[in-house]
Amino acid sequence: MSGAAHLAVTVLLAVAVVVALICCLALLLMKDFYERLHYMAPVSTVATFCVLAAVTVQEGWGQATLKTIVIALVLFFMNATLAHVTARADRVHKLGHWTADPKEDIPGLPKHVDSERKR
């Protein structure tokens, strides 16, 4: 592996690890469940694809890269599905239903939009 390739692998791995560690810390520090849920996304996208790029740079096209592509795709689609399913579970757990209720209060919605929606 050339010097440039080694540098690229180092940088990609550093980015992946730093992003993952920051997201783990944010998971702990966020107060709200929905805020917390968002921090799975950078790990399964930015960090995972940085690792994929690092493996590709180091190994070239081969068994390792193909398996890493499969893992990255699984993690990518897993995050979207799991985030939705977990948020849905929380909503059903709290409200008893999943469907939208026109009379339901949505925090943060401007008053004129809220009154228009409830009309």
Binding site: V85, T86, D90
Partner: protein
């Protein structure tokens, strides 16, 4: 110790916040902590496979990713229906 093993060791520290969330928060937040821990563990197994230069170990990371997915779905369904 090569670069990949060093990255795996550093990434293991990410499990500490996940563990704190899992052990101290309510059920739905514990599920988020568990899912994040699964993601981190998958990446750690990937780093170990590359660091130890054994392509067979990639299957462990793939199995971990798939089991995290299945486990997350089952737990979310369980929370939704029975808790």
């Amino acid at each position: 110790m090569n670069l990949w093993l060093l990255a795996a060791a550093a990434l293991m520290f990410g499990l500490i916040p996940c563990g704190i969330v899992v052990f101290t928060r309510d059920a739905i937040n514990r599920l988020v902590g568990l899912e994040m821990a699964g993601l981190i563990e998958t990446l750690v197994l990937l780093f170990l496979a590359q660091g130890l230069n054994n392509p067979n170990f990639y299957d462990l990371a793939l199995a971990m990713a798939l089991l995290t997915f299945g486990g997350g779905l089952v737990f979310a369904r369980f929370l939704e229906r029975w808790l």
